[in-house]
Symmetry: D2
Subunit: 380 residues, 4 copies
């Protein structure tokens, strides 16, 4: 087999998500062999000229720029990868799509539902491929869960309980990061962590119809105003199929570092998962007591054809290999009408649930969730 | 050491709770040596004359009766133990207390907050000792958690997330039990399971101030009207100290049989627990990653002076030994002003939270919780 | 149902095993209803007159004596329960059996294979029922494992790996207990812990044919000569069916308190167990990856008809309820020719494996194991 | 920072280990930034011309060859990476070293101790850097264990129990792989799996002094003679510091896919590990009950400066990134006199332990282990 034709990648951002995406592009070429398209790292953009130049050397981008408009203007860029802060999602992503570039944008898509809807609407008006970076859909155990759920193996779904537990804000020190600034981030644990949980809720269980929630910031802000975002979100959630449950996201869960945990109970079985053990799916397919700790590394398990023999686990960073490989396949026309990757519509819909949580926290009421279509105007 | 003076026990009910309590009374005499008082099984009461007679033979009660008023009238009964259906909690318990008998009543105390308040008020007007059967306060790991929390080892508390997961209603068959009948039970998963979670929330974290909840019954009732109680409760909870979290109780959690699971995150550490592994406490006292799986069977651990060498675990039934031993100590005057056992006031306060959950489920609103004092009249 | 006819119990020893057995006799009467025979606690024997008198009061024995010959002479004693130090197993047990009393003797049966064979031979020459106290056969998860193995669900057995890990000798302090004195105990971790592992190996996998082992005492003895027994045993083991594996027993395994862990791998599946989680069996019945954590508390699980609803776990002490209930059933003629309880022949056979481990440790050679029959003379 | 100067890599083999190493070289350049040397993939060698040509395209090697002598002759190759079958370890590795190329050779170094000693002696006579591919030294949790052990945090070491459990031979089908052919592999589970366990024993506990072991092949060979290697190894092991324990390796452990599990007990604490959860170390530093499940992803944990924020786990393949990065550092002169990577002397010493296991299995005797020095002639 020959390597596939190249696709030029322009990337905005070189920090956490930039590193994860760059590592994935470099890995796709040899791990997912042959790749549907071979990523060619054309240009990377960041505010700090020295830092972005070093990032270019490190990851092998041909050029480094400090203005994202240069990425948009660069004809060799065919795929625009936006891993910048949330405030930089809308304008560059829309501009890139209008310039005919396929776009992948990190989650949350926008800082709220209106901004997310605007991004979706603008990009959907072009004919580029778009993906919102909910990489946890590409965890092998999560994809296997989806497969079991689609097959109906759990029966009628009754419960979804999920929480995304981190602890980096639990101590006395407050780091100086954009994620604590509402202007840049839009929200705190809500958009950062709860958005992942909500996307998986939608991916695995179905469309949420109502939430009853609470946002909480535990500390008074510093002189610079930070944090002015939520530390934690607590909520009751209802689904169109009748399932109910709780969701939670927090940066204050001492003892937990990256524990996105969920459990689904159906009438005939149940599944459970913890991101800190991302190669394992807890499986119950008979309703009896207890779960099987299934190591999701068999040849027939999702994504495992790319990797190692059974029992040799993959890492968190490898989920981006799966995700961006899927995106390249979509661009190359390999997938059918329902790709697994979250589209910008998925990004928007999750934002609607997040907005409902904000409204519910403020109003103290159960908030129904209405999803707008492409033609709908922004909410007044 | 000599055995302690006897205390005559009269018991209402001989099914699940009756068996657990009778086993405990028979065990206290030799395991908790010397016991503060030696239980003497005087009389047991149940509706079915043959069945209650056999229960008397089985557990060693001197007599069996079919009218609880005989227990109240029996001068040899000094402690009245009410393990009957919820609808039989109020009248017999109050009558026994007014007859000067100490009383222990299974949870939930009453079928709602009003009934619970009435029981508390009536019994508090006598001078008997009263305890509400929240036996999970007497799990060694739970008591150890309380000890660590009282010492402040976790810092400022931020989160309490708990769920009581059973699965006996998940399948297609609907058992014929009083627990599915609102007239007898008052509620479903709410009073049966969520009440335990709420009592532990109060015992470990502090007083709940508001809830945002949802009750759900998944199936249409049969011809006989059952179930007319909730299968599941989902809620957000807030505490007076500022902690927030989620609570859940369900009889539909396939894969789980008796999984009362909770986790508490403070600013300096965290604790976690699962009733299906009731001898273990997950302990984090530095805020770093992960938990120690502490087997709570050391000599210095709560209740372990009664049992076996380290590593030899106790069972669920043994929690009643601890609970009723504590009650006998209270009656014998061994404890100070703040016994660990839930009083009837605790039983009432939990019922207030349960009522708030019902109101919130109906109104769709966050419901503040107001606790009445002894002097307060029932809510209109 | 009526209580069964009584059987008079005389007990030698009131410490750890005495407490466990006495608790079991008192519990059988009401938990295993109706019991095959109702234990009547006739007399208890110990060296310290005051202590044994208090033990009698505590557990409800009618009389207390300081010479075990009084138990043997007591006509009301029909079942002799020997929980004394190992050096007191042979003479009293044989005397009791010759006096027509059924006998249960704690493990190890004798201090070596010769003594064990002599006990077995002498008792088998009477017609009393005999049981050696390998109580771990009566753990529900262990019995369930046996059931699965008997059904052939694991295919051809290849591996048995087991270890009994305790840590009470790991620290600098050396307790003053008979278990460290060879004259009283016969051996250290070998007879105390490895014997349990060997008995389960025989119960679950089959007859050991050879061992290759090592005994180790880590510290020099004190002035009083203790410890003069092994702290740890390490061995390779082979079985008549072709399975091979490792066994280990130690009192030096920091972090472990009572972790008797074993795993069996067959051609079609595998089972694993840890005594510190004695209500759980790890089950794999298809050879695929991972195990189901089966909570062994379902109504159809062994012994669970006596206890609580699913999910309500039993404790270590409850295994003696199952064991002695089984013994009473055997005495009452309820069981067929192959009772699950270890007979004195089982006690002897385990001692042969222990002796082979001692020989192998000294010789450095693989030692074949030859089991003597009843007619065989003691080894010269 | 600038990328480091390049080092030309020539690789023998493109299957399992070839893929793992190639992936690592490609990852080092951007993940371990700046790398000590930048790997340049010069040439890859394999027997099948088409397959090796495709491997070259896939992994980015400049050329593909079918005779390893071309790698040795290639002046641009500065580092020779031998991931071929065991029978191809000696000659090419020695030739490459004699040609002045640094060498890394997969484990086991040779097919027995003599061959391993010969490789070590020949290569040590040159001045190239050599490493034997015991990649599990480069698991973050294993390296952290080493750090804790070097600090003396566990006290005096008493026990090492380890097992490497796979199951790919457990079913009825026998795959057609060189690993089952003694001529190519030298041994079965012994060199493939037990060698890893022995290397870690040496790395963590110290030098083994004696073993008492057993090799077992469960099935009769096919017509082609395979398997003529062992399926399983069981052994008792003794260390120079006084610790004792058991080791095991098997391809027949149903339920386990890649479970290299070990536990070390010292007088003051204990550590435990399972490769199927390779990001976790079980830590006990006080000798009390239970272990902390430490997620080894903190910034201060070994190798974590290269990767992601806390809680984001690495995969099995990433251990080769750490290993080969370490090798490049050694070549660049970054390390001191005691690098963590296994040298060829380590490869040889492990082979001596393996040989002792073979001798012990055949003789039935405890076999002492004598390690030869560089000057020693091969055993007669």
């Amino acid at each position: 087999m020959e390597p596939a034709r190249a696709i030029g990648v322009g990337m905005l951002g070189y920090a956490f998500m930039g590193k994860a995406h760059a590592h994935a592009y470099r890995t796709i070429s040899h791990i997912t062999w042959p790749p549907p398209l071979t990523p060619e790292l054309v240009s990377i953009c960041g505010r700090d000229a020295d830092a972005v130049a070093e990032a270019a050397r490190r990851y092998g981008f041909a050029t480094a720029v400090t203005d994202w408009r240069e990425l948009v203007a660069n004809e060799r860029v065919q795929l625009f990868d936006n891993g910048g802060p949330n405030a930089l999602h809308a304008e560059p992503t829309i501009a890139a799509a209008r310039a005919g570039k396929h776009v992948v944008c990190e989650k949350p898509l926008g800082r709220d539902a209106d901004e997310s809807h605007a991004i979706w609407a603008a990009v959907a008006a072009t004919d580029v491929t778009h993906m919102c970076g909910f990489n946890y859909r590409f965890v092998p155990a999560v994809r296997l869960a989806r497969r079991l759920l689609e097959a109906g193996d759990l029966g009628e779904l009754r419960h979804f309980r999920a929480r995304y537990l981190q602890s980096w804000l639990a101590g006395p020190d407050l780091p100086d990061v954009w994620r604590l600034d509402r202007a840049q981030a839009g929200s705190g644990a809500l958009g950062d962590l709860a958005a992942h949980v909500i996307d998986l809720a939608r991916y695995l269980v179905g469309e949420p119809t109502a939430v009853n929630g609470l946002l909480r910031t535990f500390r008074p802000p510093r002189a610079d105003g930070a944090p002015d975002v939520d530390d934690a979100v607590e909520a009751v959630i209802e689904f169109e199929g009748g399932a109910v449950g709780t969701i939670e996201a927090t940066r204050m869960a001492t003892g937990r570092r990256n524990a996105m945990q969920w459990e689904i109970n159906g009438s005939r079985g149940a599944l459970a998962f913890d991101m800190e053990r991302l190669n394992e799916l807890q499986v119950n397919l008979d309703g009896g007591p207890g779960f099987r700790t299934l190591l999701v590394t068999e040849p027939e398990h999702p994504f495992m054809e790319h990797w190692w023999p059974p029992g040799h686990i993959v890492g968190w960073g490898d989920t981006f290999v799966h995700e961006l490989h899927h995106l390249l396949g979509a661009i190359a026309g390999e997938h059918g009408v329902a790709p697994h990757g979250a589209t910008f519509e998925d990004g928007y819909r999750t934002a609607e649930v997040c907005d409902a949580l904000v409204r519910s926290s403020e109003s103290g009421r159960r908030e129904a969730i209405a999803y707008r279509g492409l033609a709908d105007a922004p909410a007044a």
